[in-house]
Symmetry: C2
Subunit: 303 residues, 2 copies
């Protein structure tokens, strides 16, 4: 059996050209840099603007990474869509590419969805993909989806698909929920969505984190992950928190991309797809000043 | 210039086979019946489970309706997706098919979206479709999208695209919001999402309604729409309300489909795609009993 994923993953920001087309070359370079800094690739997540990409754009980007020789065993692409057919298409593609797992949003248009309905959705996807190589990580992010993934649903999926449903990302930001997941599912890979929870969550068995700010601070978060039980852990947590809090006080995706533009020297990084909006001039100044105050940098950026 | 749409539109429920595949033949039959009862076809709306369909499934269904000779000038397909490329693809297809207009959801994954971001989204779609034949109806349904369409946004879109952004469906269920839209945009086609508002909204200039229950009570709602200023209007409103309230007290889409199954004699109509769940046995009994109490029927169902 394939081992569960662990460590630090970046929901990789997706670079666009001025005409909003995907910049695949820049994407590959950023992915290489993230790997070199010790982060895994949770491509096509919320911070990747994945739902602003077409299915074909997602498939082409993954194919490009593979063609460039990046290791699919370090990849956890997002594949959850509103329509089962779309989710199956992306998931099959990721499995065929040899990805270590997929991170699957619940269908997120309808609200007030029952656990029974979500169970049927995931069960249908699993049945159609029909592969022992499928390793499914559930994605709990109720502030965006309005469709929470309950402990009861996870329990039922674990019971019926123990070799397939192997992990979860908890983006609720709710410590009690994370602690309950860690306690209830010790055999699953449970990832909080923020490095700020690592010091508390790793001793309880968390697998690492899948965090937006791993796009800009992969090495710092990686050090914290690796040394959480060492004497300098408190300092490492403090340093990581300072970066996190700085970015969190701006629109996250626009801020991540603006910082990447600054430290790479490539201004096109700042582009986002509507309905998101890039940082305005005042926000840019404020973010730069805040990053200087904490002596932030993105080392070895080749892009 | 093409006239604005008006009247009663059904967000047409989409029939599925037991394996969840689309039943295109049954869909055509239902659309024909709705037209025969005086309702227009707001295919691919919320009640159509449109976001549970792939782009290709939506394109094929629309092509099939056209091939079967149904009038595209009676069609208002939903084309709004999270990704601009997808929205553009569906909108171009609908325009090429000769549809009277398109009903466009805002991108609905990200929350806390600014009016500026939504403006850029719609402006980008309009620029890419680039057709004087595009007649765009905005779709305000904040309970599902979490992304409201504000009066300020409408005003800006109307100012910059007066020949394109010509209407709106208000599914907020908020009378004050509907009244404000009717007052602010007398030149737009404003559709409430429920026939229960017709008697109040038509005197203020509403264009009609686009209502879930027009799937099962098209003729009743059509009569109310046509006779709202006649002596029997109060009775017609009361009768329409009784149907609406009955369906509203159940999960709407499952209830519409179960009723269609009952009155057409075709049990497969009851099928919904996950994450929705069909009515359970107890709910089915309750709905049937409630419909009998109000002497409900679906006349001339040939499907």
């Amino acid at each position: 059996m394939r081992p569960l994923l662990s460590g630090v993953f970046a929901p990789v920001v997706t670079p666009f050209k001025a005409d909003l087309d995907v910049d695949a070359e820049l994407f590959v370079r950023h992915c290489r840099w993230l790997l070199s800094q010790g982060a895994g690739l949770a491509i096509f997540g919320t911070n990747s603007e994945a739902n602003s990409l077409s299915l074909e754009q997602r498939r082409q980007l993954l194919d490009r990474l593979i063609a460039e020789g990046l290791d699919p065993q370090r990849m956890l692409p997002g594949t959850g869509c509103c329509a089962i057919d779309d989710t199956v298409a992306l998931t099959r593609h990721a499995v065929a590419a040899g990805c270590a797992g997929v991170l699957m949003l619940p269908p997120f248009y309808y609200k007030g969805i029952s656990d029974e309905g979500l169970y049927r959705y995931y069960a249908e996807v699993i049945a159609r993909v029909d592969s022992p190589r499928l390793k499914l990580y559930l994605y709990h992010i109720p502030a965006f989806t309005g469709v929470p993934i309950s402990l009861g649903l996870i329990e039922r999926l674990r019971r019926d698909f123990p070799e397939t449903v192997v992990g979860i990302k908890d983006s609720s930001g709710d410590w009690d929920n994370l602690a309950a997941m860690l306690a209830a599912f010790p055999d699953m890979a449970v990832f909080p969505a923020s490095e700020s929870l690592l010091s508390r969550a790793l001793p309880l068995g968390a697998a690492g984190c899948i965090s937006a700010t791993a796009n800009v601070n992969p090495a710092g978060i990686r050090r914290l992950y690796a040394q959480w039980d060492q004497p300098d852990a408190a300092l490492l947590q403090q340093q990581a928190d300072a970066v996190r809090q700085t970015f969190q006080s701006f629109p996250m995706i626009a801020a991540l991309k603006f910082a990447t533009a600054c430290y790479s020297g490539n201004a096109s990084w700042a582009t986002v797809r509507p309905p998101l909006v890039a940082l305005g001039a005042k926000q840019q100044e404020e973010l730069q000043a805040a990053l200087e105050r904490i002596h932030f940098s993105m080392p070895d950026m080749g892009h």
